[in-house]
Amino acid sequence: MKNISSAAVGGKAGSNKMHNTIVYVKQHWQLYALFMLPAVLLTVVFRYIPMGGIMIAFTEYNPIKGILGSEWIGFQNFTRFLSSPDFLRYLVNTLKLSVYGLLWGFPAPILLAFLLNRILSSKTKQKIQLVLYMPNFISVIVLCGIVRILLSPTGMVNSLLGTDINFMTMPEAFRTIYIASGIWQGAGWASIIYTAALSNASKELKEAAVIDGANIIQQIKAVEWPAIKDTVLIQFIMSVGNIMSVGFEKAYALQTDLNLNTSEIIATYVYKKGLLDGDYGFSTAVGLFNTVINVILLISMNALVKRMNEGKGI
């Protein structure tokens, strides 16, 4: 099909191919100039130009002198971060928050999907889903506002317990609050994808399993788990790929001066150093460090899953 126009042209294969492309682009110029242009423009301007701006990380950046005018200091910003006494704390805070978040948060929606799948009446199921999905539509700010008032010394939790503990000022409570509120908000919504996969599990297969006298555990092993295994794997790789990008918005909104010991993560540190203190070069270096770890994690995770899963990754 593609070669109709080129067949008449002849000549060397290379220039032939080139010619094909030119003819194609001429014929389909709209695909480039109208369909692709806005997206490419936005991507280049707002994604690639900032990548060039990473150079700032290697300078003593001075906004007046600009990137090229600022003093080039090599890896000094990085060594300053890596050798600072706080470096390990921020890294550990970031990792703990996301790894624990993954350990607790990842299985929660899968469990919910299995449970929902066992609800026999579809009307009841819909009503339950309506409630489960609701917290997903609450904004980060409102969620953190809710958490703060419920956990305040005079809030709901303390009046139920008969205590007046100020949870928001306790460094040791931060991770639990962050992760539990994350599950509260997101687990129901995240279960949709597994519920969908489970509903694809062949009804006949399941009926056959029931007739054969398989109990629930056996049914899950033989019918339901195989139906969602691929989805679980993909979701898992994606979550691991996002380990270093724990949400800035929520961590920042749950921070108080007193819980910073555990609540200061790399993302919030980058923001404070960069935009509040104006230490641009250093902040960019810290951000870059974060991104690079993230990319490495994603690539190695994908390779690992590929090996375990007979060559299937993403």
């Binding site: 389909h28 449970l115 539509f137 506002g145 918005e249």
Partner: protein, 299 residues
């Protein structure tokens, strides 16, 4: 009655598992419902009573002060208006750009597809980060303008992949028939392809709308003027920074009274600000479900 017989069919060890399962589900549901009911009730209680003794069903202690004070505050409405403007415009721009780009990317014969794909996918995993992006926005003169909110996130690679997958699921006969009828690419895309893609368009539009409505980071770093603040930033000062808008509490005599009132205002603020999406979302739920399923197809 049917349910009961279904349940009775299970062998006894399965019944035990099921009961444990239902209990877990029940606890999860209660964990969502109880705080919501608590906040609704608490928002109507006199601030002093609320602080000293918590919820009460002595209706003489109930008041709508908090709602009156929040509703009569101008900044909340400025926030609502800005959030609506930003969310609508962002949704339109984002959906148009994303749907357009997804079309060539869905065609097997599109030359340069591999190149563009790489160009886009890299940005999903790697980026310049906060400061370089901020400096770019600043040097483009977009600080404290609506463009800083609308443009940088307008093209979503993830949504483009979902739309592309959806286009690819449309039967090829449709395109062939259109070509035979002499339809140009533009006519095929706008008149034939888009109308059969409404479910995915609705889904992406709602994702973008809700995402913009609920976010605060970009507005926090790029917008300075109070008149440009979206709702979430106004909420942030009330709920997170404990700084109610001026005028909400300033008529109170003592600091203690102001603090109590400020605490009560939080409850009412949460209800008022969340109400629109809470009411609307059940109507749109099926679209969201569809979208997630479309996203589940490997991109």
């Amino acid at each position: 009655m049917k349910k009961k017989t279904e349940f009775a069919k299970y062998p006894s060890e399965d019944k035990a598992i099921l009961i444990v399962g239902y209990v877990i589900l029940g606890v999860f549901l209660l964990a969502i419902i109880i705080p919501v009911i608590y906040i609704i009730l608490a928002s109507f209680i006199d601030p002093i009573t609320l602080q000293n003794s918590g919820l009460t069903f002595d209706f003489s202690k109930w008041t709508t002060t908090a709602y009156q004070r929040v509703m009569s505050n101008a900044q909340i409405w400025v926030g609502f208006k800005n959030a609506l403007v930003y969310s609508v415009l962002f949704t339109i721009i984002s959906v148009v750009v994303t749907l357009l780009a997804a079309y060539p990317m869905s065609r097997a014969d599109f030359k340069g597809r591999g190149f563009f794909n790489t160009l886009f996918v890299i940005t999903m995993f790697f980026g310049g980060g906060l400061i370089p992006t901020y400096l770019l926005i600043s040097s483009l003169g977009m600080l404290d303008t609506i463009w800083a909110i609308l443009l940088p996130g307008a093209f979503s690679v993830w949504n483009m992949i979902i739309a592309r997958t959806y286009y690819m699921g449309i039967p090829k006969d449709l395109q062939e028939a259109a070509e035979i009828d002499g339809a140009t690419e533009m006519i095929y895309f706008f008149k034939i392809l888009l109308p059969v893609c409404t479910p995915i368009i609705a889904t992406i539009a709602m994702w973008q709308f809700v995402g913009m409505w609920n976010s605060y980071f970009d507005a926090m770093i790029y917008l300075n003027s109070a008149s440009k603040q979206p709702l979430q930033l106004v909420l942030r000062s009330i709920l997170i920074q404990n700084q109610p808008e001026p005028g909400m509490v300033s008529d109170m005599q003592s600091t203690a009274e102001r603090a109590q009132l400020a605490e009560l205002l939080k409850y009412a603020t949460i209800i008022i600000s969340s109400l629109p999406l809470m009411i609307l979302y059940p109507f749109f739920q099926k679209y969201f479900d569809n979208g997630i399923m479309a996203g589940a197809v490997k991109g």
